[in-house]
């Protein structure tokens, strides 16, 4: 039972990180129908910025929970700025281009950002300081749940709630929903679509940075390539839940995280990805637009 719980919580942790990343994919996809391949790189840049910020702040004598919050906040600011800039350079000029062109542009951006970090920093794995403090009240649950699991899962829940409030109740959130339903109509009703798209990228990147900082602290090391794999998985999760749907992305991410964790724990860690992708294929065969995705209307 304890082993089961351990796997379950590690799956939830993994799923939470995928969820934070998958939201970025799904929001961008919902609005401009683009697979933002550079999203994983934003997450990686967030992690690197946090590492640098944390090292400087630690020299200044800051420690504990405030170090995590400060470093995380700096990472969020920088990741959002990168997300905003990437959109302006690589996607905005391509609004009316053929469908595959922004995809290739995104891949190019992903290669560029990876190599930018590789050249400016290093190609090796760097150890990441443990920013998440060791809570004492967790002593009794240590056998199946780490403090970082708790922090990651609860932060993700808070983020989800904030995001839901943001989208449901703010003016810009309303504009986002309108844009994702019908871009032209939203424009005609006076929505500044360019701004909505920018905000979407900024929000998505901020969530990715939060995920990047938390998981790096949990795992303990980063390199320039971490964004690629995580991005691929998060994108899979977004599609699993139905791309463009926000609750779908979270559901898909949690299912994917748990599947991987259980497959690795009970069967073999060599095959965890096989199970993840196998599950994706199976679900899409029976529900071609994902778990919670809307079926697109067919028009001629």
């Amino acid at each position: 039972m304890e082993y089961f719980l351990e796997l379950f919580f590690s799956g939830l942790t993994r799923g939470s990180i995928y969820a934070l990343l998958a939201l970025g994919y799904t929001m961008v996809y919902g609005i401009i129908a683009l697979i933002n391949f550079a999203h994983g790189e934003i997450y990686m840049i967030g992690a690197f910025t946090a590492l640098i910020a944390a090292s400087i702040l630690a020299l200044l004598g800051i420690s504990g929970l405030s170090l995590l919050v400060l470093a995380g906040a700096i990472a969020v600011v920088y990741a959002s700025s990168y997300g905003y800039t990437v959109e302006k350079i690589a996607y905005k000029p391509l609004r009316n281009a053929p469908r595959l062109s922004p995809l290739i542009s995104a891949i190019g951006m992903s290669i560029f950002l990876q190599n930018y970090v590789l050249l400016a920093q290093t190609s090796d794995f760097v150890s990441f300081p443990q920013l998440i403090p060791d809570f004492e009240f967790m002593e009794n649950y240590r056998s199946f749940m780490q403090p970082s699991d708790l922090v990651i899962i609860s932060t993700t829940v808070v983020m989800m709630v904030l995001l839901t409030i943001f989208i449901k109740f703010t003016k810009i959130g309303k504009a986002m929903r309108a844009t994702s339903q019908d871009k032209t109509m939203a424009m005609l009703s006076g929505v500044n679509v360019d701004r909505v798209i920018s905000v979407t990228f900024i929000t998505g990147s901020a969530l990715a940075a939060v995920g990047g900082v938390l998981i790096s602290s949990h795992v303990g090391q980063i390199n320039f390539y971490i964004g690629f794999i995580a991005g691929l998985k998060a994108f899979t999760a977004a599609v699993l839940g139905g791309i463009g749907s926000i609750p779908g992305a979270v559901l898909g991410a949690l299912i994917l995280g748990c599947t991987e964790s259980f497959a690795a724990g009970y069967i073999s860690s060599d095959y965890e990805d096989v199970f993840a992708f196998g599950l994706l294929v199976l679900i899409l065969i029976f529900r071609p637009s994902g778990l919670l995705g809307r079926k697109p209307s067919e028009k001629v």
Binding site: L51, L100, S101, S105, F128, L232, V239, D270, L280
Partner: protein, 400 residues
């Protein structure tokens, strides 16, 4: 004058923004083991200057792009016209190219021949994927799976039964086509990006199985000592066999161009293009969508299977690390960068994307950075690819 000041101010803002953006990653380097922080503030100054200059270029090119957009359509017609005029010159041009291609290994070193052979392999892979993506509009992010199937077909058959390259080549092609249909069947109902992720997942599953099922595929250590193709049982020297492989590739490229060109204008090719444009409309015109999709997958995969065999023979070694998602991305980039649906574009794209990083190796430090930047710029300023595909026009001829 006012405009100059305004543009200078804009560029200044851009420069400051980029200095802010690159500050932590460019200026600070942390050694987490010894807890030392190195400051490299000068880098940020360089970034600022570069951003300032580049921002001028960017604005200039953007303005030019806006102007060009107005006569986009006429431009496409122009290329069509130009190509029509060149039709007469085509046989001559083809003859010159083929002659140069045949003479190439006699003049250049083994290394050059090997590099160009690789580029030729990617031409065929690009043309194969072009059937799926460019013609049929099925976004396949897992094309490398078929490549792996072909490579492992030859590697395993040779390893266990000593079967020669010439028998493995058609077998690899057929097996890849079967895998194409196997992948195609479950995904018939999927569209666009759902299809993309399933193909990606399929390719990853194949790679992971090859990686982990050691008793079948020797796992990550791969299969070594695969024989290169031979002529009439003679053993060839290293240079001879690499030249021979080069000539095989030339023949295969010509074959591919011929077959894909014929396919495009055939009944099934036109069905693919119709399906790409609009599936529902296409179905209502009486085209069997199921068959069109499956043939697109099968015929696209065939070429990848063949190239897999050639790859195994060329490197004499296969392991799963050669068949990552990255490889699919490169092939897709060849198709899109070259120009979807256009044969000449794909050929050009393959040569650029394979030869450029190869010859930029002297500046290997930043070559991938440049490569990524080029991909973005290319798409921003020429989203339809280098040579855009030309649609067949039928013109009404009046009898006067």
């Amino acid at each position: 004058m006012n405009r100059v000041i305004k543009e200078t101010f804009n560029s200044l803002v851009v420069a400051v923004w980029f200095m802010f953006l690159t500050f932590p990653i460019m200026a600070v380097k942390v050694n987490t083991v010894e807890k030392v922080i190195t400051w490299r503030l000068i880098n940020v100054v360089y970034v600022g200057i570069c951003a300032f200059v580049l921002s001028f270029f960017w604005h200039y090119l953007m303005k030019k792009r806006l102007k060009k957009k107005d006569d986009e359509n006429t431009w496409q017609n122009l290329t069509a016209l130009k190509l029509k005029q060149q039709k007469k010159l085509m046989p001559l041009l083809a003859a010159v190219v083929i002659a140069a291609a045949i003479a190439f290994p006699l003049v250049f070193s083994g290394y050059q021949v090997s590099v160009v052979t690789t580029a030729l392999m990617y031409v065929v892979l690009g043309l194969g994927l072009n059937i799926e993506v460019g013609l049929a509009g099925l976004l396949d992010l897992g094309y490398v799976a078929f490549y792996a199937v072909g490579a492992y077909t030859y590697a395993l058959l040779y390893h266990h039964f000593g079967i020669s390259f010439w028998i493995a080549l058609p077998l690899g092609a057929i097996l890849a086509a079967i895998f194409g249909v196997l992948l195609g069947l479950p995904v018939l109902r999927l569209r666009g990006d759902y299809l993309a992720i399933v193909t990606l997942g399929f390719a990853e599953i194949i790679r992971l199985v090859l990686n982990n099922w050691s008793s079948f595929s020797m796992g990550p250590s791969g299969i070594a000592d695969i024989a290169q193709p031979s002529v009439l049982g003679k053993t060839l020297t290293l240079k001879q066999s690499s030249d021979f492989l080069y000539y095989i590739m030339i023949v295969l490229v010509i074959l591919t161009i011929f077959v894909v060109g014929r396919l495009r204008n055939s009944r099934i090719g036109r069905a693919w293009i119709a399906m790409r444009e609009d599936e529902t409309a296409c179905r209502s015109m009486g085209i069997n969508i199921t068959r069109a999709k499956l043939t697109a997958f099968a015929l696209g995969a065939t070429w990848a299977g063949m190239m897999g065999c050639v790859f195994a023979a060329k490197t004499t070694f296969v392991n799963p690390a050669s068949f990552t998602f990255w490889e699919s991305i490169i092939i897709l980039s060849i198709v899109v960068l070259g120009g979807m649906g256009s044969i000449a574009g794909v050929i050009l794209g393959a040569f650029i994307l394979i030869l450029l990083p190869e010859y930029l190796q002297s500046i290997s430090q930043i070559r991938m950075l440049i490569f990524g930047a080029c991909m973005v710029l290319m798409m921003v300023f020429r989203p339809q690819g280098i040579i855009s595909g030309i649609r067949q026009h039928y013109r009404w001829k009046e009898n006067t």
